[in-house]
Subunit: 303 residues, 4 copies
């Protein structure tokens, strides 16, 4: 049944396996819970091809930060979440030593739940041009990271694959690391706007809210790629089939009936629809503030 | 079962009754189909309290223009749709004779599917101030209608009920007619971004995508109120329960089981979620262009 | 020569008088300088009609906060400026005791230097609807002020005078105080984006960047009106005539020649033009963040 | 005196020469006036290095379309202007035969007068991805040009030179022609928002509203580059010095005095300021509509 799951979160794929299958071969899950700030950090490591096949995700590390309050106006744990994101990002990025980083804000700024990437880029402290102009002394005096950034837009706006645009820019500007920011699709509504996923595997086709674009990863771009995403939508077909599956399992239907229903749902018009909360504008604003603050902190300390 | 329906379209409420109940007492349905332009106009008239109770909508006229191509880039029938909207609007508004009209763009401009009202207002040809300054001769020479407009924002942004804001403005500026533009919720996905509803009953609580605000109608505002809306979302709970109900009915479940399931779905977190297409930005842009063009035409001819 | 000045800042009007005329009858100027944070607070009090005539501004108090770093990315004195604005605002507003405040964001959100008001409102913590719904206990428990807000748009967008819109809303919602936020025109370029003016006299016709609208003050609205503004532009005619006047005075021209030149400049097409810095988007973003933070602080403490 | 001029319009440079110097060596000026539609087309051809030095612009063709009504709401000559732009564009571009075109919208979408390029790109009919997916038959059936587009943002937002970004993208996507859309600076206020300049020389450093970026032209990008621009601002220093120069010449000052004054003006703070009309939002909206319509027409006919 796992191949019916539609989620960008490795953690949700892992959860879809039976509870007693705690040790899927080739996949390691570790968890940490900060009770004071209500922040849970789960790390899924896919070690080999066997794990990749089971998880249907590339080999690599997937860190999930769950912080239910991340999109709330209360500022109780805002600082704690920001610092946790920066800490996990440094873990994946290694010591940047002030080397050049290109941040790419994926998504369509005109569609609210897809605007996370562009809004994070809007709030970044971009410095590459300043360092080019004023030199290394200026950089060190002001503790600047070396940051460039772009929000290229989606294929319906540009007519180009994002990977074509980014590959071209990288060849010209020669950064050492790419960080890709994107809105993701979760399977469960309660993960929407409460979760950050970081991974060193980049972005694979069909991620985000379903646009068909080619991978952005170390293989395609030639340098290390870290993807930072937050689920802001659930696929409409997923929400319908999950709700009914849960009901049908509970009511004692057999698997054949359930599969038949699911395939019927999939044939309907909801294939290009997504589900998102009514106050998505406020959530996107708060989460993009938090993520950009985490990035700015991380780069400044990376000098 | 009708009380489980969540739709702003009178036509969908009418359709929810059994097919053989063609003549609900107190409700009259007439239809016209323009085959050349693929435009269907359905008029639901709720004549009396009996009809209002059956339909759970106020007494009045509800005109639905269905034009599947309204949000497409092809311009084939763009002019035909624009003229049809203007024609139906004049039917409801009567002869304006150049009298003052206030257009209100409801909704949140920061949430794409809710931005229809503000975007229509952005494209309106507003003239009231020009007529105040240059006089009646100027107005007649340039064939101007007398138009003012406002996009007040939603309650989460203003802290005020929309009816408080609009009532106050009407008292000061004394228009003869209010036209309220709003994004609606449909029950069926195929009505999203393909349908325009016009009604002389205004907007009732719980309309739009679910914000709890008081009615905007002749009773509350003291002058005639026409509402023009386009469904841009489906309530997430509605899509789940409708899909499953349809499956369960088809599979021979009895009504008690279905009701039990529906109430379970309602209790879940999807209560404040909506479903919308991925390319909602393009649809909203095209529909708001069409509606504002219809309004501008209608006002100019109303001199 | 004073009637040739085009500025919204009382401080600049005061400065336009000869230096030895330190004690204009009816006008009192006091100054305070916080050296550590480089914040200068000047208070101009116009006591009577004689002062009002000399200054060509209504009787009342005008507080100017000069903080050269307010639009810079450095956060050195961000907190100090925010607190100074909140402190001066409380001085003018008196003890709010949790009473209702309506904040009005004037200006056109589509024109960058005029978008200050709307952007401040976008960042406000609006609470009136929450208190209506959850009651006084909720308000006190969460230390909430009672805040409503609106950005009505400019007359070219609405066809209505702002005073008509706000007067109507006030009658319906009955706030105790109105705070109007607006982008202003300064005379000197070095005051642009570095200065905040607070006044208990509201907004007078011809303020802002020159839209002809009627006054928003206690007389027109019936309740106390505080205006908080920041100069973001200089009138183009002012910059030309000031630059030349300065040169001509310096070069020994007599006043007749200068007056003749000024009137020629005024006749040219630059009458509806303004001057603004190239990075105005960044400045507006930072200043609106600072002002909204000051307002949010002030309201929260006003409970 | 020519080196004091600050304008992106070749026509204005040409006009700055004495009237009797009708035949500057190496520069040819031809004019056409369409009286019915009030559209004037002037073509400046810089033939050789001598002309380039005199004009301080690269060798090439500069076509200026002056249409005073282009930013007005009246639609009188809207179609005529659109067709004129398309006609002149085809003259410079040659027969595209359906080959790939990349449109680049320069400028900062957050600063109203600088948002022309991004807004034109927003309205373009982008097709490259459709042709990649559905093939040549689809392209020919629907009479599609092959169009991709990007609005990269300005250096303060990206940290990168625009030329780096575009050069990289071109290497990956291999278009045959680049069309660069940009907001320009004029010398005379009456050219602002009334003029379109097309040139086959691309964009040179210091164009637009003064950002220091490297050239976008055939030499730097390796393929043909057409720049289409519209002046939306006047440099603040230019407006001051031009107004005063005109007055001083008129009043019989000698050139030394004038030069001294100009250099004093240049030293002041107005160096990073621009002048723009108050209703710049409406003008930008109308001009970007017109330009994008001209481009869409041109590409569709280029199949």
């Amino acid at each position: 049944m796992n191949n019916k799951i539609r989620t960008d979160l490795a953690l949700e794929v892992r959860e879809s396996f039976p509870e007693d299958d705690v040790e899927i071969k080739g996949v390691i899950l570790t968890e940490n819970y900060d009770e004071e700030n209500d922040i849970r950090v789960s790390t899924v490591v896919i070690k080999d091809e066997r794990g990749a096949k089971a998880m249907q995700k590339p080999i690599g590390t997937y860190i999930t930060i769950e912080a239910p309050e991340i999109d709330k106006s209360s500022e109780n744990n805002h600082k704690a979440v920001t610092e946790e994101i920066a800490r996990q990002l440094r873990k994946l990025a290694g010591d940047l030593k002030g080397e050049e980083v290109l941040v790419v804000g994926l998504g369509n700024r005109e569609v609210t739940p897809d605007a996370l990437g562009p809004q994070v880029v809007d709030n970044l402290f971009v410095t590459r041009h300043l360092i080019k102009e004023y030199g290394t002394d200026f950089k060190e005096k002001h503790h600047l990271g070396n940051v460039s950034a772009i929000s290229p837009g989606v294929m319906a706006q540009t007519g180009m694959e994002t990977v074509e645009i980014i590959k071209g820019i990288i060849k010209e500007t020669q950064p050492k690391l790419v960080i890709v920011i994107d809105a993701l699709a979760a399977r469960s509504i309660h993960r929407v706007n409460t979760t950050i996923q970081l991974t060193d595997t980049g972005i694979s086709p069909g991620s985000g809210i379903g646009n068909n674009r080619k991978a952005l990863n170390e293989e395609s771009l030639g340098i290390k790629v870290i993807a930072l995403g937050c689920p802001t939508v659930v696929d409409a077909a997923t929400i319908v089939s999950d709700t009914l599956t849960s009901y049908m399992e509970h009511s004692g239907f057999d698997e054949t009936d359930i599969d038949k229903f699911i395939s019927e749902v999939r044939e309907q018009q909801i294939d290009n629809m997504f589900v998102t909360p009514k106050n998505i504008d406020e959530s996107i604003k708060r989460i993009s503030d938090t993520v950009s603050e985490a990035l700015n902190t991380c780069f400044a300390q990376a000098v």
